[in-house]
Amino acid sequence: MARPERFGRGSRLNANEIHARLRARFGDAIGDLAGARRDNFCATVAPASIADVCRFAKDDPELAFDCLSNLSGVDYPKRGVIEIVYNLYSYRHRHLFALKVGAPRDNPVVPTVSCVWAHADWQEREAFDLLGVTFTDHPDLRRILMPEDWPGHPLRKDFVEPEEYHGISTSRESLLKA
């Protein structure tokens, strides 16, 4: 039988406690607590320290974020950043928290967290593919969903769809036109 006590007998921390614990360890690298509900409490993290913060969040027995539930990239051209959102979940304590990293849009480079959670490997490849974020020290940073020779990164807000791909048109005449 698996050891179930490792996955759910701990005590759930609230967002303030999680944030305070991260602040106490990393100081100014952790931004203010934001969000209003359990599912969107978050804090910004300085890009350079994200890997260390994640390593601590996983290894610290009080936090024990043993699972990277989700990693998404969001493009904000007006602010000039691509935001990487890490939704962390702890199976041991059943708490949820999000970390956000703002990478400059013209050169988005963020340290990888694939050494912390195996799941991050593919999620980071997806963010690289669709948003063009480079994750330094990632073991296998290749496109994952789009073809290898696809131009640009489709989930960027200023992405313009190419007219054709290898001679295949990407648009067609409307059938409704007279």
Partner: protein, 386 residues
């Protein structure tokens, strides 16, 4: 060494024995056992794999990008296509995201309708999973039994929402239609008929000696690995972790319902092998029947949908929705910027994480076992690629 003159230079080890070379095989993208269009690059020494590298993206339809272009209500039919084997939970995920951001409360009857539809969808998806798993292993008959039952559910859901696969049943704020007249009795009759058939299916295949030998102790996933790779749903529970979003992070009306969460117990071999993942699905179908029966008994009267503006503009903000789809914890990270178009929608699906563990699992596995692993993880290609 070359084909031209058929001259063959035999490679020899230092000890004089024949040397072997690794063989690289491409399995897929069109392969009958890959459950959709996906490809594996298999490096094998004879029948034993050194690794199988998944290559995905063949079914990428840029659904997340479409979300940014079609508006909040308009995206609902596209969510059906995220996972067309179990479309109801995808509907529900998107609806829940809109409701969370827009602060909308769904009427009680609407929530019950959702749970009934979702649980039917779960049975419907698990039937395909266990049926095709038996077929992949080499037993054709169980597949026909599973598909026969699936057809009845298709009929029921068609009567409910007019469609057999891509339902588009739910709306932000509730569901599209109330249960049609007489539908309740038909559903109860189906469940009454179906529950003994689960046992019959078990008699037919689940404990068949050949079948269990093919699955037991194959591709054992430890609970630590399962969490590290973010396996969810039956794959996670197969590794012995009793975790179900419906129970542990309750949403909708699940707190009012009584059901068990089956976990893998290592009946045929180690905990977390292919058999455990399979049998968890068999047991979940019965639990879903229990849930549907309770829902049909408890469902209150009233409206099924809340008033939501046609030009729905939720206030700016983000949310992370998790719900238990047929393939487990499905995550929706949705950002609104206060306009009538979603700013960003990221869908984290169960199959996406399940396929990423295959490279690790496949080491020193027989090629034939890869088929069992793919089936036991219940990979659904559209859900991986979105």
């Amino acid at each position: 060494m070359g084909l031209a003159g058929f001259e063959v230079e035999v490679q020899r080890h230092e000890n004089g024995g024949l040397a072997t070379e690794d063989m690289t095989l491409s399995m897929g993208p069109q392969h009958p056992s890959t459950h959709g269009v996906l490809r594996f690059v298999v490096r094998a020494d004879g029948e034993v794999m050194k690794e199988a590298i998944p290559d995905i993206g063949y079914l990428h339809r840029s659904i997340e990008k479409i979300a940014e272009k079609v508006g909040w209500h308009g995206f609902m039919p596209y969510t059906d296509r995220v996972d067309y084997v179990a479309a109801m939970p995808c509907n529900q995920g998107w609806a829940m995201a809109g409701e969370r951001l827009g602060n909308i409360e769904v009427p009680k009857r609407g929530e019950y309708c959702r749970v009934i539809a979702t649980e039917f969808s779960r049975i419907h998806s698990h039937l395909l999973s266990v049926g095709s798993m038996a077929m992949d292993i080499g037993a054709y008959t169980p597949f026909t039994h599973a598909i026969r039952e699936r057809e009845y559910i298709n009929d029921l859901l068609e009567e409910l929402c007019g469609s057999r696969l891509t339902f588009h049943y739910m709306r932000i704020g509730g569901v599209g239609w109330d249960l049609p007249p007489g539908w309740r009795d038909k559903s109860l009759a189906f469940i009454k008929r179906f529950e003994p058939l689960v046992d019959e299916f078990n008699d037919l295949i689940s404990y068949n000696k050949i079948y269990t030998e093919r699955l037991a102790n194959v591709a054992v996933i430890t609970p630590e690995d399962a969490v590290d790779f973010n396996l969810v749903g039956p794959n996670l529970r197969g590794s012995g972790i009793k975790y179900d979003v419906r129970k542990d992070e309750p949403y909708s009306v699940y707190p009012e319902l009584d059901f068990d969460v089956p976990v893998g117990r290592g009946e045929m071999g180690a905990v977390g092998d292919c058999f455990d993942r399979y049998i968890v699905r068999m047991r979940e179908m019965k639990e879903s029947c229990r849930i549907i029966r309770q829902c049909l008994a408890q469902i209150p009267s009233g409206p099924v949908i809340a008033k939501v503006a046609r030009n729905f503009k939720p206030p700016a903000g983000d949310c992370y929705i998790r719900l238990e789809s047929a393939r487990g914890d499905m995550g929706w990270y949705v950002v609104s910027d206060g306009t009538s178009f979603p700013y960003r929608c990221k869908i984290r699906t169960g199959s996406f994480s399940a396929i990423s563990i295959i490279q690790k699992l496949s080491r020193n596995l027989m090629i034939a076992d890869l088929i069992a692993v793919i089936a036991s993880l219940d990979l659904v290609a559209p859900e991986i690629d979105r």
